[in-house]
Symmetry: none
DNA sequence: CATTAAGCGAGACGGTACGTCTTGTCTTTAC
DNA sequence: GTAAAGACAAGACGTACCGTCTCGCTTAATG
């Protein structure tokens, strides 16, 4: 009687799932996260509200799935030309372009904001989007260390956060402009910080 | 005809203002930001809803005023014992304690999150809370540079962000634990980054 | 795009409908029409406000439906013992009792008042409550005419209004006491007015 | 200490009083009684709200005063040409015109409606507007009786109500059109009802 | 002739209700 | 048995007025 309601995912409608993702991403871009509603997503997707409630616990969870379904992943890792600073500069410049793209902004900001107030969501958000980011930077730094360009005892994880943290903060809180100049400076300082003495 | 209705602030009730701040901070701690409502604040404060709508445009704006009314400011600046690393370690350790204090968390997280989706609010938030923070670090670094401990050409603003950005990100997104060890490591790396060669 | 939102009445909750009627009639008796609120009705009925707004345009419309759902109708017509004056006296005396009953007063007064200022409502009110009343009197007068007790050329509709108009006015505006004596006098005069010369 | 707040009427501003009346009558015509508000009257009249609350207990009371300040009174009584039926027909035809005048309708309807639900107000309304009306008709009927045209034992008050009640009901509840034909028929029937046998 | 006390315009206040919107649950019907 | 549709109870939204209050400002009438 007190069945915990676990829906049978084998019978799930892929068509509805896609439509919900598309609708969610469209709407968050059009009206913003605060005015994004489950009703609105259902209506735009041509889907019953229950279909959303059946599979996701909140609009943030829908958006996170929608976003990660689209987002490219980090499987490749960072380029390694042998020149650490140049590689970091290159990748961060690409990130500057990406994060300045309006399409990308709305859902990402929304998720970051929602995560700030919801530990469960942020655990997911971090595991799926931020950790992989930190990891590829840490990996690239480790490769540099293995090549003798970085001090043995440097904390590479923290170094990676020193690249991404200021970047994220400028973007998320708008504490400053997100430019190539900024990321280049950042790379210089971090490379200097971890450089073999 | 389209008068913007600007209320007369000289007739404003200080008692109501305080009661609203207290209620907002209490409630955000009790129920969280998402379930914080203007109605709830008004009821707790023993105030009409209109009194809130008259003076603030949103619950985020109320919270920002409430928070900054309470929050200590940065007038004093950072300590300067002559030992840059020690001073930074000391201050960041204090911040670790502050940001791990539950009282402080709810409103600050809420404001950061709300700011992420609302440029107008984040402008206020940054100007009143984050900029002053960045500034005192920049000032302390400048003093160190004047004392010859820091490279002439180092970008001190970005260096300050390298301290605060990773800190903020760990705390806000919970990408890692906010410990003394972390901030000490951060200080080491940053000091090394800007050190006179 | 400008769909008028017509709800599907086949899915309507009969339970809610009844609860709303009961609550409306109770409350109008307890607090009066001016202090009768949709919120109050919804709360008393254990119903969402939207459920009321979905089906009725105003509290007056709710009350009219509630009232007519309860009110007995006039299917039977007036008694016809052959003695016109006696029959009219009898029925009007019954009406005196009915209109002096506190239970009856509140909703009826409220509807009459609301109708005075709202042509659409009064059209409904008249069609459902007043016209049938006038009709049964007109019918009884016609029967009397057919029996040769009433002048051929008498305007029976106006005669019926001469019974009900003064009655209504005394009751609604409180221009005088609503007693058997009054209605008996009324009947005498009207019977005399239409009597065959 | 518990002074019941009796304002000093000698210091009252006649200018404000007039402005309030004008505003109330204008507004009731423009927006209807339900949307007539004290705030609106005050704003239109260029008057503080307190000035209204100081002198009247409700918007209905304001309107009643405003209306009676304008309305002509019945001092003159009805014409007496010796022909009762002709005199009544004449006066009622004039009333038909008056009650079909839009200017007149809004406030009068509003007051009648408000009175229906407020015994205190209706006492005032009846005493100041309806009783005098009934009285002049009763007086005219008495004159006719003194001239031998009306039965000695006829209840003249009820006869007067038989003229005004149906008239009021048609107008207030819109149970039928308010025409000369209707009032002429009414007069015929009433005159016949009270005629000396 | 200054003083003082009232009425006044103005509008902030604590409240209540409005009518709308969205939430998350539930039920019905179609596939 | 999932899905589209949508009614439902609940409750917050932001607005409009309520009736009370306090603020300066006329404006008498009094001491």
């Amino acid at each position: 009687m007190a069945t915990p309601r676990t829906p049978d995912s084998t019978r799930r409608s892929e068509r509805s799932r896609r439509a919900i993702f598309d609708a969610a991403l469209e709407l968050v871009g059009e009206v913003g996260y605060d005015k994004l509603t489950i009703e609105g997503i259902a209506a735009r997707a041509g889907v019953g509200k229950q279909t959303i409630y059946r599979w996701w616990p909140s609009k943030a969870a829908v958006l996170l799935d929608a976003f990660t379904a689209d987002a490219g992943d980090y499987e490749a890792g960072l380029p390694d030309t042998g020149d650490l600073a140049a590689d970091l500069r290159f990748v961060l410049r690409a990130s500057v372009d990406e994060f300045n793209d309006p399409k990308f902004q709305a859902p990402y900001r929304a998720l970051a904001a929602a995560g700030a107030n919801d530990a469960e969501l942020s655990a997911d958000f971090v595991a799926r989007l931020m950790e992989p980011g930190i990891k590829v930077y840490t990996d690239r730094l480790r490769a540099a260390r293995d090549q003798g360009q970085v001090a043995e005892d440097a904390d590479l994880r923290v170094a990676a956060e020193m690249l991404l943290g200021p970047f994220s903060q400028r973007w998320l809180m708008r504490t400053g402009p997100l430019t190539y100049e900024f990321t280049d400076t950042l790379v210089d300082l971090v490379v200097r910080a971890v450089a073999r003495r």
